[in-house]
């Protein structure tokens, strides 16, 4: 390199500019021209006005500081969250919200995994559903009404389709509604992976039966995974998840064999069709297949059966005396 360049600041600056532009053009500018940088999945729906408002809230509160929105093509990750992220899912994402840190779990496949009621409860007070969570409370969102005009201007800026009724209806909604709606939008364009549900014989009996060991293990698994929605003892939580101990299963009176329980726990709400009962339209049981061992799922069923037997033996009045309203049972995290 000619030493002269270090005496000529203008030439030097030009050379430095060219030097930094080479890599920028190859890795940043050129890819923009490629079609694989603007793919769009067939089933991808643009944001509704409510969902965009929710996304704005997500951005404003800095949710991407702790949550990612991209599932990596790694086996453990696909089991935990769902299918790995596809480029075509992010066509409407301005900006992308993939994040860079998972203080909390990834949210790319969160949509449809849990019922709205769970999210409302969780956003208002995360520790009411996950006791040792470190997430801040967002109860104030439920007090904040949306401004339809503002949301409409955002929809216009992004050229997203929207109608006057849709905008007018926003006046009745809160930022919390919007955030939940956006959360349920996440990942909708990719078919949820069918867990092992199909392979299960719906009429199968529980291989663990009612062994005390299985019941004890099932109780532990239930406390770790299920109480957030179904309550400490399986009595359910209003507007979140149904009672497991009564004689109604997926909205229909009459019990089903253990195999159907297994299919539902393993496959989540997606297994409803196979079981042949519709349940609640808004129901969002998440799939536990792969999240916990199959034996643990059977153990939970052992425990549920034991609880059901206990319930049948105890007259409702006695149950009430045992758990007077207001005395919330202590829960170990």
């Amino acid at each position: 390199m000619a030493g002269e360049i270090y005496k000529k600041p203008i030439s030097f600056a030009l050379l430095a500019t060219v030097t930094v532009l080479v890599g920028s053009i190859v890795t940043m500018a050129y890819p923009m021209l490629r079609p694989d940088f603007h793919p769009r999945l067939e089933g991808l729906r643009p944001f509704t006005a409510l969902q965009l408002a929710g996304r704005d809230v997500y951005q404003r509160e800095g949710c991407m500081g702790c949550h990612t929105q991209t599932v990596r093509p790694l086996r453990s990750e696909v089991v935990r969250y769902g299918d790995y992220s596809k480029a075509g899912e992010f066509y409407y994402d301005r900006p992308f919200l993939w994040g860079s840190k998972r203080t909390g779990p990834d949210l790319a496949r969160e949509g449809g995994k849990r019922p709205d009621g769970w999210h409302l409860k969780h956003y208002a007070d995360p520790r009411s559903v996950t006791p040792r969570s470190n997430m801040p409370r967002y109860a104030f969102l439920a007090e904040a009404k949306l401004d339809p005009e503002e949301v409409a201007s955002h929809m216009r800026a992004l050229h997203l389709p929207h109608g006057p009724e849709e905008i007018a209806a926003l006046a009745q909604r809160t930022e919390m509604d919007a955030l939940v709606s956006y959360t349920q939008w996440l990942g909708h364009a990719v078919q949820r992976r069918q867990p092992a549900a199909g392979a299960v014989d719906l009429a199968a009996a529980n291989p663990l039966g009612d062994s005390p060991h299985a019941v004890a293990r099932g109780n532990q698994v239930f406390l770790d995974n299920c109480t957030a929605c179904h309550g400490d003892e399986g009595h359910g939580v209003p507007d979140v998840a149904p009672n497991l101990l009564d004689d109604v299963f997926l909205g229909v009176k009459g019990d089903v064999p253990d195999g159907a329980y297994f299919a539902l726990i393993s496959g989540g709400s997606d297994a409803k069709a196979a079981i042949g009962r519709k349940g609640l339209e808004s129901g969002g049981m998440q799939a536990y297949g792969g999240q916990i061992p199959n034996d643990d799922i059977w153990a939970v069923i052992s425990w549920i059966r034991a609880q059901q037997a206990h319930e049948r033996k105890e007259p409702p009045l006695m149950e009430k005396a045992e758990h007077p309203p207001g005395a919330s049972p202590g829960r170990t995290p």
């Binding site: 509160e61 860079s100 470190n134």
Partner: protein
């Protein structure tokens, strides 16, 4: 001193501003480190983790980092050009605009006005202000260099010029957005493209805010403080050009295993590995420079700041490329390892060099000595211990987190729920807060030392001022 006086006040103004925003940024950092393990510390919506985190990163990158870049670059440029700034009043206006801008930036972030792009969170009105600031800086830097009284441009000037150019290109491209009101905008790029542009920007913001200007100060202040000439001019030439060439190819290493096309990820990984060479060119140059007389480590209190600083730069630039490898990335990406990595660079490399450079500059503005070398030494050790405790703790917990996420049972199901992994972080997060307190204590000693030095300088100046002439009888 006379002819530079006015400019020196501007340099000092930038240094004091940088220190002020640095203290704010560090205190916010302490608060959010507490919020990681005590959610009740999320006092109000404005003071919740999600909004405070960008206040911490922007406060330190733009407040401390860019403030120091403005002030120290002006000092270096004036000295190497052997002349005062061409537009001293412009620099003065720039100083005020800078402080107004950072204050407005902090308030806007607390209010939740954000583009949600890391290191480019600020909404578009503030982006415009930052572009104006940068143009002011560029005009003064280039004019002063063009009208210099020293024929040869020293290495530090190369790095300053590269910084001015690269930051301008990066900032303009990534902040292009679709405005949707005064305080809301949407990225001009969508999805995969948005991610690629952002991390091209994000990684090079690290490169051209936390690396090239700091190297400019290292190459200038190390020889000045120690009296030892830079070991190899040729090595600095090779390092410079290969660094500024290769840096721009590497952004996609932040997007390993995302839907970004594989070829871009691989290209970024290759260039990232290559970057070890130019980075270590400067490390080796630094070591051999001090190697001419290691006794300086004992006799000149600033030497250890520079040597430890360049050491952490060296470690950082090996650890970073390692993380870019797919095998490593899949384990540690998205975990606390990454903040551990970032803080080695910022706490270990950037603040070591910046504070040492300020220790060098401030007494010279006043023609005096540092207030207390003892306090400076104590500051050094606290900052060193705080940073090591922080980084090492986060590396350990990051590996643990990444591993727990991957463990499966014999039937292929996951062994640990997400919460199982999270609760195991708590003890480490407590330790991180402790590390932050130690680091902050060191930085507060630095601030005290600088303020005391200025006070001493002012007293000295007052005593030297000629007594008012007695009225003629």
């Amino acid at each position: 001193m006379g002819e530079y006086r006015y400019d020196h006040r501007t340099v000092q103004g930038f240094i004091l501003s940088a220190i002020f925003w640095g203290v704010v940024g560090i205190l916010v950092g302490l608060l959010i480190s507490i919020q990681m393990w005590a959610p009740a510390a999320n006092l109000t919506p404005w003071l919740a983790f999600g909004r405070l985190r960008p206040v911490h990163t922007n406060g330190l990158a733009f407040g401390l980092g860019v403030g120091a870049i403005f002030g120290l670059s002006y000092w270096v440029v004036m000295r190497l050009a052997r002349r005062p700034l061409v537009f001293p009043r412009l620099a003065r206006v720039q100083l005020w605009l800078f402080n107004l801008g950072i204050a407005a930036a902090a308030v806007s972030l607390l209010a939740g006005k954000t583009q949600s792009l890391e290191y480019a969170e600020l909404e578009w009105p503030l982006d415009v202000a930052i572009v104006v600031l940068w143009v002011m800086f560029a005009v003064n830097v280039f004019a002063t260099i063009v009208k210099r009284r020293e024929e040869q441009m020293y290495v530090s000037l190369w790095y300053v010029i590269a910084t001015v150019i690269a930051v301008a290109v990066l900032y303009l491209v990534n902040n292009a957005s679709i405005p949707a009101g005064w305080w809301k905008s949407y990225h001009a790029y969508a999805g995969v493209n948005s991610a690629n542009v952002e991390w091209w920007y994000g990684h090079n913001a690290v490169g051209f805010v936390f690396t090239t200007p700091i190297l400019a100060f290292f190459y200038y202040f190390l020889p000045k403080a120690t009296g030892l000439p830079i070991f190899s001019h040729r090595l600095s030439i090779v390092s410079f050009w290969s660094l500024v060439f290769a840096y721009l190819w590497t952004g996609a290493h932040h997007l390993i295993y995302t839907p970004l096309p594989d070829w871009l990820q691989t290209l970024a990984i290759i260039f990232t590995i290559f970057l070890i060479a130019p980075s270590w060119g400067s490390v080796v140059n630094g070591y051999y420079t001090v190697g001419a007389d290691w006794s300086k480590m004992r006799s000149q209190y600033l030497t250890k700041f520079f040597v430890l600083g360049i050491t952490f730069y060296g470690l950082q630039t090996v650890q970073g490329p390692t993380q870019a490898l797919r095998t490593v990335s899949q384990l540690i990406h998205y975990t606390d390892w990454v903040p551990g990595h970032v803080h080695m660079g910022t706490m270990g490399w950037v603040t070591m060099i910046v504070t040492a450079s300020m220790y060098y500059v401030v007494p010279r503005i006043w023609g005096t000595e540092i207030y207390s070398e003892r306090i400076a030494n104590l500051h050094f050790w606290l900052v060193l211990v705080g940073q090591l405790l922080f980084s090492i703790t986060m590396w350990i917990t990051g590996i643990q987190q990444g591993a727990l996420w991957k463990v499966t049972n014999a039937d292929g199901s996951l062994k640990y729920s997400f919460m199982d992994g999270l609760v195991k972080n708590y003890p480490y997060w407590h330790t991180r807060t402790l590390a932050g307190i130690i680091f902050a204590a060191g930085m507060l000693l630095f601030v005290y030392n600088v303020l005391k030095t200025i006070q001493k300088g002012k007293a000295l100046e007052a005593s030297q001022r000629p007594a008012p002439a007695p009225a003629a009888a």
